[in-house]
């Protein structure tokens, strides 16, 4: 069944049809959110909230739009929101020297993804990382990326180019090291 048929089925009252959509996009959403956020707990939260929002909002989905970029738009926004929250949390945390002294290693608790690719990605600006992951990780075309991120196609091409320029030496080092 196509995405549109599954969505029509959900809207007709067959909520189980949404399971098939989850199965179809679960892996892609998991990969993207893990790589965007760098830790599994936040990634799972983002993914769970994204699918839940997509389900609740299916009535707003327009068939002329492809489901994948529509879903990714929700996921991208969730990742941005969680990243902002985490930044605020960390800033508050850092601003309190006493708390910092007595704190546990937060990264250890947060199930950080610690591998060479993540190390290379972590040095990228979030918007560059987002563009690179959507383009070369998930294989979205620029039109789909524009729908998913709200950015223009020329801006996305520039972001991908900058991300590639920054990542190329790191990736080479990672693969050769």
């Amino acid at each position: 069944m196509s995405d549109a048929e599954l969505i029509a089925s959900v809207l007709a009252g067959h909520s189980d049809a949404f399971d098939a959509l989850v199965d179809r996009y679960y892996e892609a959403c998991a990969r993207f959110s893990v790589r965007m956020l760098g830790n599994r707990q936040d990634a799972e939260d983002a993914m769970q909230e994204a699918f839940l929002r997509a389900y609740r909002s299916l009535a707003r989905y327009q068939e002329r739009d492809a489901f994948r970029p529509w879903l990714f738009r929700i996921l991208v926004n969730q990742c941005r929101t969680l990243a902002r929250r985490r930044t605020r949390r960390e800033l508050r945390f850092v601003s309190n020297p006493d708390a910092l002294l007595h704190a546990k290693d937060e990264k250890e608790d947060a199930f950080d993804v610690r591998d060479a690719l993540q190390n290379a990605l972590s040095a990228l600006e979030p918007i560059l990382k987002e563009a690179l992951l959507l383009k070369y990780g998930e294989g979205l075309d620029y039109r789909e990326m524009a729908a998913a991120t709200g950015a223009s196609v020329p801006a996305l091409k520039m972001r991908v180019k900058r991300a590639c320029d920054a990542m190329r030496p790191r990736l080479e080092a990672m693969l050769n090291g």
Binding site: G13, A30, Q48, M174, L175
Partner: protein, 193 residues
């Protein structure tokens, strides 16, 4: 996965190597999927057909049509990307006598020159642009629709010519909805209604 035609400016070798490394990203376990599906099943089912029930169900009755409150919007629309701010007179809110009824009759008015159709969408009609089309007032630029809304907070927007979403410049904005679209907020039975 990598669409070379879409990215002639990029190094295909890099793209493929990156994609290969990315594909090795570990997946969350099946328990995460189960937890996700459980939360989905507990959520309210999405519906797109609510308004059909609304109109064809004869047993549905409005509270007395005692109130006509106007959410009036003065907005000029232009073709293309430009907005023309040509204010139009807004209808003043009428006095309310609905008391404590569960629903209130609301009239929404949008002034939008140069458009061919307008619809009201919101949480009350499943955000369906086909559900609540607005009616043009005597070949003017004014579009209107009257409907009954339950008391409480509602989020809404206008869809112009089937694709452009507008918020109400005279109403508070709802938080960004996760889709990059903003909506307006109206509190039925609250201040100003």
């Amino acid at each position: 996965m990598v669409d070379r035609n879409d990215t002639p400016e990029e190094d295909g070798g890099f793209a493929n190597r990156f994609a290969e490394a990315y594909r090795l990203t570990p997946s969350p376990g099946p328990e995460t999927r189960e937890r996700l599906l459980r939360s989905v099943r507990q959520a309210k089912m999405p519906r797109r057909d609510g308004w059909f029930v609304w109109w064809v169900e004869p047993a549905w009755t409005l509270s007395p049509l005692a109130v006509s409150v106007v959410a009036a919007i003065a907005m000029g629309l232009g073709f293309g990307m430009a907005w023309r701010g040509t204010p139009a007179p807004a209808r003043a809110p009428a006095a309310s006598s609905a008391g404590a009824e569960a629903e209130r009759v609301m009239e929404f008015v949008l002034v939008a020159p140069g458009v061919t159709n307008v619809a009201l969408v919101g949480d009350f009609n499943g955000w369906d642009p086909r559900a609540t089309p607005m009616r043009r007032v005597r070949s003017s630029d004014t579009w209107t629709v009257t409907l009954s809304l339950a008391r409480g907070r509602h989020v809404y927007a206008f869809v112009v010519d089937g694709e452009r979403w507008l918020t109400d410049p005279g109403a508070p904005l709802a938080p960004e909805d996760g889709f990059g679209q903003r909506s307006s907020v109206i509190v039925v039975g609250g201040t100003g209604t």
